[in-house]
Symmetry: C2
Subunit: 124 residues, 2 copies
Amino acid sequence: MTIKEVSNKYDITQDTLRYYERVGMIPTVTRTSGGIRDYQEADLQWVELAICMRSAGIPVEAMIEYVKLTQDGESTIPARLQLLVEQKENLLEQREKIDKMLERLSYKIKRYEVAVETGKLTWD
Amino acid sequence: MTIKEVSNKYDITQDTLRYYERVGMIPTVTRTSGGIRDYQEADLQWVELAICMRSAGIPVEAMIEYVKLTQDGESTIPARLQLLVEQKENLLEQREKIDKMLERLSYKIKRYEVAVETGKLTWD
DNA sequence: TCTTGACTTAGAGTTAACTCTAACTATTAT
DNA sequence: ATAATAGTTAGAGTTAACTCTAAGTCAAGA
């Protein structure tokens, strides 16, 4: 699969795909004899993981560290486990913050809905 | 309340407090006769809202827009409502992404836990 | 009165995560 | 064979959200 196809498939720019590879957020992608990227299934799985992590807000740095560890063999499994557990905790924290804000928003929205209906702002 | 006290209370730098005010993320804070910030209860509520929104990942731009609308009287209530509904939808989307990643992380973590116990990586 | 420490503003600098540019090479269609 | 298209790298530029610096003002204690 060419970089263009991958770009379309995952709706991500070619620049970003090259950037992810360059900084080590995904391992080096398979090339053709001419040196052109030719994404294999394994490469695509890395891309997909990278996109998923980034969209959840996990920093590029963490992903780079994880990729490094996977390249260094099975002795790094405990370190990988620790890294993933840390990121999971971060995400749980972030979800807490979002939930808190969602509640607050719901309250304000209800208040404004009443105001729009009645023409008057009520409470506080 | 001085900026220092607010800074300590909410664990946010004085620089950031001034920045929030400067860009209009919170309305202008009450001053002493000498021009020094003297946060009143209403000011603190804005600060708290700003911190809550930012920690949930709502962009500064959206908050600025919201503050502008609140300064422009009750005629802007429908616009405020729309803004808040949009932000709520964004947060729900973001939470979805986090949940997806959390599931993925849990799966990987389980796999690595088994690997650490048995000394062997299983599945895929 | 003098100094210390907290405050002020304006504006420059930093960081993360892209995003773009330039100069070049390779592949494909005519 | 050659033009158009798509790819390559190295490195500069951009954006959001702070964060820091400089130069100055103000209030309280020795």
